[in-house]
Amino acid sequence: MVTETKEPPLQHTCPHGKKPGRRWNNIIFQAVAITALVATVSVLILLLVDISIDGIPRLNWTFLSHYPSRKPEMAGILSALVGSGCLVFLTGLIAFPIGVGAAIYLEEYAGNNWFSKIIEVNIANLAGVPSIIYGLLGLEVFVRIMHMDRSLLAGACTLALLVLPMIIIASREAMRTVPVSIREASFAVGATRWETIRYHVLPLAFPGILTGTILALSRAIGEAAPLIPIGALTYVAFLPDSPLAPFTALPIQIFNWISRPQKGFADNAAAGSIVLLVVLLLMNAGAIWLRNRYQKKLH
């Protein structure tokens, strides 16, 4: 796509006439941009090819339906896959209402004062905090003080903290795209602020909020660092039966396999990475699908 960019006929419109270097500058810049693109995409392709060669032979029903094992060819990712699924589901349940609520307050209720400014700056900062820090916070607050133990719930609460800033920022962006005129029209016919938000702002902003939330959750599913201090386990040969059950997750299982000496486990790690990639892809596709669906309904 980039290679076909046509050069605009600048020479004719330019009042100062031709400058000999400009055409070359244009070509050079285009070359630099293409190189940047090729470098990025080729790294991605290299990674994909590499894990595909190792991992695809291992991808079969046994791999998806078995628990971890000392024998690489018998080992599977069932507990990790289900663990990751439950984790992301719970994270969404916790983070979505809190995140959207906070965004509504900041966007619709909070005045433009020093207090809301401090909150805004802090949320922006939180989005940049390394994820391991959330893990340490979660260990102390959820695992130890709130006695959730090393459970799915503790993991989900920690990941919820991690994705909250992203959900808040995405939700605010979405609400900001709702024209002021709609709010004013609503107020003009006597609606309260809550009615305006409930019947006008939220429905219009909803596709954007949903997309932002799913993208934030798809970041959460790939995270290993915050789960390690929380106590995500490596060997779990059962499925969680409650939010307080111990758990493992895909990145943790992959990380464990990659550090084992036998080649068979390295292949399992590659196959596990493919499964994680497919899950991520499905989530992102889901986000796009939901957005399109709701947008059609509303217009």
Partner: protein, 339 residues
């Protein structure tokens, strides 16, 4: 929108409703056994847990990897029932257990040989003495011992590049104690990694490399590495340089780099919960073939018997950690109380 919120509330309610566990009528064992600790011991515990769950499907076992130190921290707080350890408990960790009134039973489960390796292209070096290893790795060597010729004058004037496990691992603690005399005493200018596969790659691609890690990783990468013999200068336990093999570790001649590795069991948990006691019994009786399968060296049969006997009699404390444990075999240490 409305439906979505309703759905959300339903899910929330469903997710937080924890169904009460239903007790079966039979006396089948059930419960949750939590194990955490060393990544070195992990493959053994994983194998035993996997086998144990076949006759006891209702017992849930979780095994985590937090390193030996991390495992003892959780064990000392009573957060786990069993701690995997690649070295004996340290006084500080024993102190934590005491503070929280946790009594522990120390059970050796296997031997791990630490292999010292060079690149296969290294033609000059086939063995090292303990003295030479100390000269290379001691803290004073930092920035000074940089070439192979400094170790033996006849060796080439090539740069020596060192690879070893990260400072948080029990393997690092053990190696530094065995070679430099003090746990943690090591030069700092080597390439450390918690992931032994990174060390394998490092040694396999660098002609001047020297490194150490568990022998299981050497076994899986024999074509990429060259194993060195180690000479401890003591002819009474084998003359000359000795390489780590099943025989040399078992007959106690691969010295000083063969070490026992352990599990530590919470005495109270084992006494009160039959599933924990049964798991440990199963571990002691069945681990020998599993230990071999995952790349470690099983203890002599009698050692497992003695260890299980200590467990049955509830003998707490550590016999492997003290100063007077040096130079004694596992069996001698385990039967200490019997004298």
């Amino acid at each position: 929108m409305k439906r979505f919120i309703l759905l959300h509330v339903c899910f929330l309610a469903a997710a937080f409703c924890i169904s009460a566990p239903v007790k079966p009528a039979s006396a089948e064992l059930e419960g949750l056994i939590k194990v955490d600790g060393s990544s070195t011991v992990y493959p053994i515990t994983e194998a035993v847990a996997e086998e144990f769950q076949i006759p006891h499907p209702k017992v849930k076992i979780t095994v985590g990897i937090s390193g030996t130190g991390g495992g003892f921290k959780k064990f000392g707080r009573g957060e786990v029932d069993i701690s995997d350890a690649s070295r004996p408990i340290k006084p500080k960790e024993a102190e934590l257990c005491k503070e929280n009134k946790i009594e522990y039973i120390e059970l050796p489960v296997a031997f791990d040989g630490l292999a010292v390796m060079v690149n296969p292209k290294n033609t000059w070096c086939d063995s090292l003495t303990v003295e030479e290893l100390k000269k290379i790795w001691e803290p004073e060597a930092e920035g000074k011992i940089m070439k192979w010729s400094q170790i033996r004058p006849e060796w080439p004037d090539k740069e020596i590049r060192l690879f070893g496990p990260g400072v948080d691992s029990g393997t690092f603690d053990y190696f530094t104690e065995a070679i430099c005399g003090k746990s943690g005493a090591s030069r700092g200018d080597f390439t450390p990694s918690e992931d032994d596969n990174v060390l394998v790659q490092g040694i396999a691609t660098d002609e001047g490399a020297l490194g150490y890690f568990g022998v299981a990783y050497y076994d899986a990468n024999q074509d990429k590495l060259k194993l060195l013999g180690i000479d401890d200068g003591n002819p009474s336990n084998g003359n000359g340089p000795i390489k780590p093999t099943l025989e040399t570790v078992l007959n106690d001649t691969y010295k000083p780099l063969a070490r026992p590795i352990f599990i530590y069991a919470n005495k109270e948990a084992a006494a009160k919960r039959p599933e924990v006691a049964e798991f440990i019994r199963y571990y002691m009786i069945n681990s020998a073939p599993l230990v071999k399968e995952v790349g470690y060296i099983p203890l002599p049969e009698r050692a497992y018997f003695l260890a299980y006997d200590r467990f049955k009699r509830g003998i707490t404390g550590s016999v492997f950690g003290g100063e007077d444990s040096k130079g004694k075999t596992v069996e001698q240490l385990l039967s200490k109380e019997e004298h």
